[in-house]
Amino acid sequence: MSTQAPIDSRERILARIREALQSPAPKRHLNPPPGLPTQPMGTDGAGHAPQEWLPQVPESLEDRIALFERNSKELKTRVIRCANEAALIEALKILATEQAWRRVASHQFSLGHTAILSAGLPVTWVDKGYQIAELESADAGITGCECLVTQTGSILITAASSGGRALSVLPPHHVVIAHRSQVVADLSEALAVAKTSHQGKEPAFLSFITGPSRTGDIERILVLGAHGPKHLTVILVD
């Protein structure tokens, strides 16, 4: 960019907006329920009413995990549950054989790093930068995540928790390794986690991933792997 920024219409647009808003708009057909859509479900300790309009989520963690699994299955996400780290290593080995992985790409995160190494997979680590072609030709991208959302079967990733912006979308198979304590109730709770877990500084990249990449643009028939991964696997460690 040149040194001199082009002059924009900020003040003109704001002036038009302020003039337009001089006459108030009528409130029609809006009879909103009490409360704001900002309170996460189940966290009504502060006296907030829980959200009563979105799809409901059960209270206990086991029930939530069960619902997360059901929602995931419906969206063609595979969920593998592992009792401990040894089982995680085993699961990775099985996946590697089954999918004929030659090389995977990953980043350093506590749950995954040693497991990936122990499983003996050839790995491209992206933490210190990567070549796009190298990442594109990896058979799978293995990442951590911010949390798992029961309500929708979604995975919330951020740049910090999931190895940047491309690792989870460029390779043809995205594998998420998460701990059961990362399962949250709904989207509000997930957003609250993302907002608070980075020293009060929201990350510049957040994404809810719900199922493998898909399209219905040809005759509204579902096809997986439109541009992003064809396969999405969540490994949930107890």
């Binding site: 924009d8 057909h29 990567y130 491309a166 979308v169 957003l191 929201e202 510049a204 040809i218």
Partner: protein, 475 residues
């Protein structure tokens, strides 16, 4: 592009498409599947109607404090190193983007779906500046190859069969014949993979602009927006000023509602919030991010308090999917960027009432759009208001005189009494001209019978009736 007046073009294309049985079959099949999935998802909501009210409330709050939230958004996103440019119209926005492209010596741009970009004809402007533009959304890519505008704001290639898509792929890409949607999708995937890895600039729209955290939110299923905002060196997002929402948490409501109303999904596959270019400590992401806040006559709509809620629209396309007019005339007949009821409501504000008023007449006023809208925009009443405003602005002389004559006749009983026998005389001779070129009612009688006047009026009946047989003696 056609040189016809918009109203003539609409009449011509609407007539052609509504007689096209093949088109009808494709649309009905596509929408039939949509209704089933949408109802399934709606049923999962604990209270869909309350969710609609609340979503409407969130947008009402944002639009009626637009100046405050826009400043908050712009300051917050700029704090992370994003360059914010405020554009009054499409020309300013396009000039800015072409300038960024030129200064960086860019050759190719990968575009993910942006209806706002369509609105300002960004693609053709960049091509004129010598930059190759590739649409990455599958539907957009297909219509780009066919050199057509998108058919529907959410499903751009809904009107095409796999055979037509195969034909254009073979002709334009030199691909092998493909027979299934899966094979066709994989051909596009292959083409696009190369483009992502080599494009210098990614262009996207935004579904929401979050004021408190300074982020844009992009909703998609394919992953093309994620790739085109992560890999190229520069990311440009075009954001209509009405896309603002106050808080990040509002997305917890709006994302599921957009997906449910838009495509019958609980939530779409990728919902990505971007607050800036690559930050210190991040592994990847664009070096530069630009956000363009576009007015382009939105403030004109804002200045109309009666129809201001049309700016609450989250572009889910639900009103198109349920509209009997859309289903019959198809998306291209409208000749607008935004089709269906919402397009008929806002296009007169964005592009001039007198040229686009005909769209508000192309409505059965059934109210299906208002009922389905996830943010409760009063769409069908806005169509009526457009009709009223169009007449107040510029009434047809003959229509004005017709009503004056009607007024004259109806307020003079003696004259009115004579009009019925006169009408019957006219009726007697009318069959001579009926359905000929001389028929003054020919537009009506082309497809319908003209109703006959009754043989006598109520007044005549009353006067000539025999004294009724009422036995009053029992009282």
């Amino acid at each position: 592009m056609s040189t016809l007046a918009p109203s003539s073009q609409f009449a011509r294309d609407a007539d052609r498409v509504s007689h096209d049985l093949r088109h009808r079959r494709l649309i009905q099949k596509a929408l039939g599947g949509y209704y089933v999935k949408r109802d399934e998802q709606k049923a999962k909501f604990a209270n869909w109607q309350e969710a609609r009210s609340l979503a409407g409330e969130v947008k009402y709050e944002a639009i009626n404090h637009l100046d405050k939230y826009l400043i908050q958004f712009a300051d917050a996103i700029a704090a992370r190193g994003t360059k914010v440019f405020w554009a009054s119209d499409g020309a300013e926005a396009n000039a800015y983007i072409c300038r960024v492209a030129k200064e960086n010596g860019l050759k190719s741009v990968i575009k993910s779906k942006t209806m706002t970009g369509e609105e300002i004809h960004l693609g053709p402007e960049l091509e004129k500046a010598g930059v190759e533009v590739v649409e990455s959304d599958l539907g957009e890519f297909i219509v780009q190859l066919r050199e057509e505008p998108p058919y529907h704001i959410v499903f751009p290639s809904m009107h095409l069969s796999r055979e037509e898509i195969n034909e254009v792929f073979q002709r334009k890409l030199g691909s092998q014949p493909a027979f299934t949607p899966e094979e066709l999708t994989m051909i596009a995937r292959g083409v696009m993979r190369q483009k992502y890895c080599t494009a210098d600039m990614g262009i996207s729209g935004a579904n929401f602009a979050v004021a408190d955290t300074g982020m844009i939110s992009i909703t998609e299923n394919e992953g093309n927006a994620r790739l085109s905002t992560a890999l190229p060196r520069i990311h440009v997002a075009i954001v209509g000023i009405e896309k603002i929402i106050p808080r990040l948490e509002d997305l917890a409501l709006l994302l599921p509602m957009l997906a449910t109303a838009g495509s019958g999904q609980a939530i779409t596959c990728y919902n990505t919030m971007l607050g800036g270019p690559r930050q210190p400590g991040e592994i990847d992401g664009p070096e530069e991010m630009h956000v363009i806040l576009l007015d382009n006559q939105r403030t004109r709509l804002l200045a109309d308090p009666e129809q201001r809620d049309a700016l609450h629209c989250i572009r889910c396309g639900a009103c198109l999917n349920v509209c009997p007019i859309f289903k019959n005339v198809g998306g291209h007949a409208y000749g607008t960027t935004y089709q269906g009821p919402i397009g008929s409501v806002i296009t007169p504000h964005l592009r001039g009432l007198q040229s686009w008023k005909h769209l508000s007449n192309a409505s059965s006023l059934c109210g299906a759009c208002t009922e389905t809208c996830p943010v409760k925009i009063d769409l069908h009443h806005h169509l009526l208001q457009n009709r009223r405003n169009a007449v107040q602005g510029k009434a047809r002389w003959w229509e004005k005189w017709m009503w004056k004559g009607f007024d004259f006749l109806m307020t003079r009983p003696a004259l009115y009494r004579w009009s019925a026998p006169l009408g019957r005389i006219g009726m007697f001779f009318y069959p001579i001209v009926e359905r000929t070129a001389a028929d003054p009612m020919q537009h009506w009688t082309k497809t319908r019978d003209f109703p006959r006047l009754a043989e006598y009026s109520f007044k005549e009946y009353w006067k000539n009736r025999k004294t009724p047989d009422v036995d009053t003696s029992t009282h």
